[in-house]
């Protein structure tokens, strides 16, 4: 590698790289300024600079790289899965179910998306694939009462985990967000601490709107952690760096495909290196 002085032109190129990975203008500028302070005018290779960036980013991400821990005492640990339309909620539930089943846990799925065409059938297929019972109601039934029934059933069965699917909803739609609050209110009648985890599913192809998604879902339904899907594409999901900085919410896992096994722990170092185009 050829060394060259870290000058303004090089810094701008690097800042562009961060912007193109969806880190956002502010975060990209902040990281670039940090680097400039440390190394400006020093002889560095492009590889070294990228590595330095990756290290800075990994430092931000390491504290949030926390798996979804299931409390064995809860029976069931209730996980509510939420997010805007099409991010991968139902698929992520299927993948989580597979992981928990592999750990010999007893898992029940609740088909809480009572709105979208064939959402229930979709979850039922995931139930079959992973060997988990799926609690579903009649067409267009109330999502909150379905969740309540599912919790009752999961308790009766002595399940370790109850994964509740919900309909995709845009965070700026107050009525839909109220519906989600109602789901939480109703299940809390049976178990005041439930849901024990509320996981927001984000799509890695999403740009800066992810901020608004996290902000709103967090304030309305007390999100406890994130899953980022579709990282098998070319989108790098850099917005998660700014999110970690701003909210510090755990990132439980990342989705890297459509299959049952395509869920990985969130690895701060690997993620940061991938952002910087380092293999």
């Amino acid at each position: 590698f050829t060394k060259r002085k870290l000058d303004d032109a090089t810094l701008e190129e690097l800042e562009d790289l961060l912007i193109q990975a969806d880190l956002g203008v502010k975060t990209a500028a902040k990281l670039t300024a940090n680097l400039a302070r440390e190394r400006f005018d020093k002889e560095v290779t492009s590889e070294e600079v990228r590595q330095a960036f990756a290290d800075d980013i990994a430092e931000i991400l390491t504290p949030v790289a926390l798996p979804l821990a299931i409390d064995p005492a809860l029976k069931p640990h209730v996980v509510l899965v939420v997010g805007v339309n099409g991010t991968g909620k139902t698929t992520t539930i299927g993948k989580l179910a597979k992981q928990f089943r592999d750990q010999k846990k007893k898992v029940v799925l609740a088909a809480g998306d009572t709105f979208r065409a064939a959402a229930v059938e979709q979850l039922k297929i995931w139930g079959e694939r992973t060997g988990c019972p799926v609690i579903a109601g009649p067409e267009n039934c109330d999502a909150a009462s379905l969740a309540f029934d599912a919790l009752k059933q999961a308790k009766a069965d002595g399940a370790d985990v109850l994964l509740i699917d919900t309909a995709g909803r845009l965070h700026n739609k107050a009525a839909l967000m109220d519906e989600l609050k109602k789901v939480i209110r109703v299940i809390a009648k049976m178990d005041p601490a439930a849901p024990h985890s509320t996981v927001l599913v984000l799509d890695a192809t999403t740009g800066q709107n992810a901020h608004a998604q996290v902000e709103t879902f967090r304030s309305m339904v007390n999100v406890t952690g994130l899953v980022m899907t579709k990282l098998d594409g070319t989108a790098r999901g850099g917005v998660v760096v700014a999110l970690a900085d701003a909210f510090g919410l755990p990132v439980h896992a990342v989705g890297v495909g459509e299959g049952a096994d395509d869920l990985r722990p969130f690895d701060a170092n690997a993620f940061a290196r991938n952002l910087m185009g380092l293999e």
Partner: protein, 297 residues
């Protein structure tokens, strides 16, 4: 989050206190704010650079009208350039071909293809009095074919009966045959979501395209898409010959810069917008509205 470009540019010119014609340095100072605004709206960086170059060229030397401030003047130039780049003339879905007219829906996973297929079929049926057949070529996503069947039931649009185990290219062929034999005007083909870098699935959709020679290939994209929009649009255009773009989830609060990114790299018109989950939530593309949104105005 964003105070509006007009305000920010107002500040820039306040500092400059210039009058008369827009000088090069005035414009460049203003364009730095425009650049940030576009990036915050998720316009992809290469497209931002092109756009800034164009708008800068237009703005330098322009006489500032007495009735406006230099800031407002630049905003107007930027806005007009943006509307132009987004496509000032509406381009409807084109059905000017021998029946049955095949329309192929493509895009990334979860972008809204199946829902948009239902919406467009409903519109063509109810508004344009066309006889439409929908077929799902998605043999991968759990219950995808069932999803389209239900949407057909909800909208009163016919769907091709599902034959278990049949593969996408054969389904497409059968849909066209049924379309021909049963006198349909339009055959809408919904495909599985796929990544633009998934070689096998991109080859599959290319084969579908070869088989049916679609009159329209609509790339369905989420309005929330970030910088990756350019990679997606470019690859789909190269591999399947996109003829138009549909932007979904415009009912959200995303600034929608992906519209400019995709239009910029493909030159394809944005034909429709999805503005909700219900089957009537489909609108023609409004460049003015999206331009205002991208600029945060």
């Amino acid at each position: 989050m964003f105070d509006g470009l007009t305000g920010k540019l107002g500040d820039v010119f306040e500092r400059l206190k210039r009058r008369g014609a827009l000088s090069e340095s005035d414009v460049q100072a203003a364009m730095r704010e425009v650049r940030v605004a576009l990036l915050e709206a998720d316009v992809a960086l290469p497209v931002v650079k092109d756009f800034i170059a164009q708008a800068t060229e237009r703005a330098i030397g322009k006489e500032v009208l007495r009735s406006v401030t230099p800031g407002q003047m630049v905003v107007k130039i930027v806005h007009d350039t943006l509307v132009e780049m987004l496509g000032s003339e509406p381009e409807p879905v084109d059905l000017n071909a021998p029946a049955p007219v095949p329309i192929l829906m493509v895009g990334l996973q979860g972008s809204g293809k199946t829902t948009t297929t239902g919406k467009l079929a409903r519109r063509l049926t109810q508004r344009d009095k066309k006889k439409v057949l929908m077929a799902s070529l998605d043999v991968y996503r759990p219950a995808a074919q069932e999803q389209l069947r239900i949407l057909g039931e909800q909208t009163g649009v016919a769907t091709l009966p599902v034959v278990k185990g049949e593969q996408p290219v054969s389904i497409a062929k059968r849909a066209m045959t049924v379309g021909r034999l049963q006198g349909y005007d339009v055959v809408m083909l919904d495909t599985a979501g796929r990544l633009h870098i998934d070689e096998a699935l991109m080859a599959e959709v290319a084969a579908i395209r070869e088989t049916v020679d679609p009159h329209e290939v609509l790339l369905v994209v989420d309005a929330m898409t970030g910088q990756d929009a350019v990679n997606v649009a470019r690859t789909f255009k190269e591999r399947v010959g996109v003829t138009g773009i549909v932007m979904t989830r415009v009912d959200g609060d995303a600034r929608g810069g992906a519209a400019l990114s995709m239009r910029g790299v493909t030159g394809c018109p944005i034909k429709l917008m999805g503005v909700g989950e219900k089957m009537d939530a489909l609108e023609d593309f409004h460049p003015q509205r999206i331009a205002g949104r991208i600029l945060g105005m």
